[in-house]
Amino acid sequence: MSEKTGQSGPRSPTATTADRQVGSGGRLEWVDGPLLSVCLASLAITVVAGAVQITFGDYSVSITEVWGIVFDPAVLASPSTLYALVFGGELAHLPTESLIVWTQRVPRVLVAVFVGMNLAISGAIFQAVTRNELASPYILGVSSGAGLAVLLTLVVFGGLAAYLPLFAALGGAFAFLLVYAIAWNGGTSPVRLVLAGVIVSTVFGSVQTGLYFFVDDLGTVQEALAWTTGTLSGAGWSEMRLIVPWTVLTVSLSIVGARQLNVLLLGERTARSLGMSVERARFGLSAVAIVAASASVAVSGIIGFVGLIVPHMVRTIVGSDYRALIVGCLFVGPALLVVADVCARLAISGSQLPVGILTGLIGGPYFLYLMKRKQHLGEL
């Protein structure tokens, strides 16, 4: 290169160089209008839906009363009460209404926010790594692995139910490793990865269905069903404690990895010729996506379609630059999941639907719409 630089005397940098260095060479050059609008709109939707979620419910508390409780100085201004809420502790001094708002409705919204973030970035990463728009934690076997692990724990190792989240995550990671191993043939390709994902999902799904025949207890069946369809009912501060640290990790790693994801989008051969160790990058980024997916499976079960739809919606608005895409996902994912959870919880008075059913109902038609509109569905 030095020679080339030396030879290039007459080709002085053009005028645009200077302009661009000022305007768009910086660290945040990719922040633009569409991205900001997506983030702000999603934030507004999340806040409104969250407010609805906190305000209404089977236990009837009046609107003014609810918001009196939310901004109750006895909670907000009391470090010991906040600590007891967030990290678990004695809350007996709070009235029932306060307890319902602060230990059920508020954390449920927050958990939905974090689960939404994780599912969205997990899907976004998997889509870049496999260069397949249809990829998601579910296609690549992570969900079926987690689901099987959950069912096995409930049916076979009933005594270990307390470790359910851990097993879910391990199952997801195991399934993905299996998928990767099957797809490996001196390297992997997007097609091989997706096919391997289908193979593993099919086998795991069959085993999962088969296991239901060995369950005698109806309660266990219901619990298993709730896990495999995905639900946020019962999500509280302990779930928050579980998911927040992992979210910090996955979000920061995915933002750092955004440029690698961008280069991966140029295809394996190009990425390699640009000096990237493709397998290492792909594996490391997949690991981030697995952790993100498993963390959400561990607190909320298998919520489908979020990881598939959100990156897609964001991509149509902000474009394919992963630096912007990841950030967009961090806002749109929570918005979608909080809205879906409001519908799941409040749609049928007196009973709650698993949120996974709602996301499925939103996701299916969305994909139908995409199929009709786009000709090359699946190609990134």
């Binding site: 080339k4 290039s8 280069v263 140029l266 295809g267 051969r269 640009l274 000096g275 190609e379």
Partner: protein
């Protein structure tokens, strides 16, 4: 205009036993007469499948520095395979590739990416990616994980865009470009790597005639104006003759002949390598190759 001068005196005989690439007698290449070989392949055995016969069996060839070398031959003659070995995409079973006197295996990935640029035949980029953003990816081997674009990076990007003459396409999304424009944008991306050698795998295959001509001119200007070593696989021998300073003709995995196109391209070569009866005549614009009939 860039492409025509090299073959004016193509008929001038040079010594027959001239090894490797010989002098091509024309004004803009005479100063390369003494330059060293940039890339050497020594006793290269290449195979995709250990059980099958090697695609390339023990070949030695050298690629001169700052010149355009074309690898030509019929389908299956091993030209793309050799290119893949030079790009370190395919590990030789035995033998080695030497780049600048150093074994190819000794280079780190990023180090190699700063020396060698590769353009594949098929390229994919997200449709909404702009040409400028695509070209910026070429700076990948020069940047570390957290680096932003430096002045040096922007200079390389601008220069690459200018070198292939796509300034007007700079802010267009890649998805909106024609095949030829896309190919030029990708070449700019590879140029932004600032490699000293550029490997091109059948770059003209899917282009219309106008863009083929444009691309060949760009290729030639890379070696003429930027002193770049270019290795290009072409299946069209007239294009190869038009663009290259050094020609390597391959037949069934072995080097049939190599040297300046004016010496290598003969009626005999056309018959033995390409199985066509052809009439070769030097003209004002270089060698004219006129295939007449297929040889059974």
């Amino acid at each position: 205009m860039i492409g025509n001068s090299s073959y004016e005196d193509g008929t001038e005989p040079t010594t027959a036993d001239d090894p490797g690439w010989g002098p091509v007698a024309s004004e803009d290449t005479t100063d390369r007469r003494d330059s060293a070989d940039h890339i050497e392949c020594r006793d290269l055995v290449l195979e995709y499948d250990a059980s099958a016969e090697p695609v390339v069996d023990g070949e030695t060839l050298s690629i001169p520095e700052s010149a355009v070398t074309a690898l030509v031959g019929p389908n299956g003659s091993g030209k793309s395979t050799i290119l893949r070995a030079i790009a370190r995409e395919l590990e030789p079973t035995t033998g080695r590739v030497v780049l600048d006197g150093r074994d190819l295996e000794e280079y780190s990935r990023k180090e190699l990416a700063r020396e060698l640029g590769l353009l594949s035949q098929h390229n994919v980029a997200p449709e909404s990616l702009t040409v400028e953003d695509l070209v910026r990816h070429g700076r990948y081997p020069h940047r570390r994980l957290f680096d932003t674009m430096t002045e040096e990076d922007w200079r390389a990007v601008d220069q690459a865009i200018e070198a292939v003459g796509i300034e007007t396409l700079r802010d267009r999304p890649v998805g909106s470009l024609s095949g030829g424009q896309t190919q030029l944008a990708w070449i700019a991306m590879v140029l932004a790597q600032e490699p000293r050698a550029l490997l091109l795998d059948e770059p003209t295959t899917y282009l219309d005639l106008r863009h083929q001509v444009r691309l060949l001119e760009v290729i030639q200007s890379l070696s003429d104006d930027f002193e770049m070593t270019v290795v290009v696989v072409l299946h069209d021998i007239s294009q190869a003759v038009r663009v290259c300073d050094h020609l390597v003709a391959l037949e069934d995995g072995s080097v049939y002949d190599s040297g300046p196109p004016s010496e290598v391209v003969t009626e005999e070569l056309m018959a033995e390598v390409f199985r066509v009866e052809a009439c070769i005549e030097p003209g004002p614009n270089g060698l004219g190759i006129h295939p007449v009939a297929e040889i059974e």
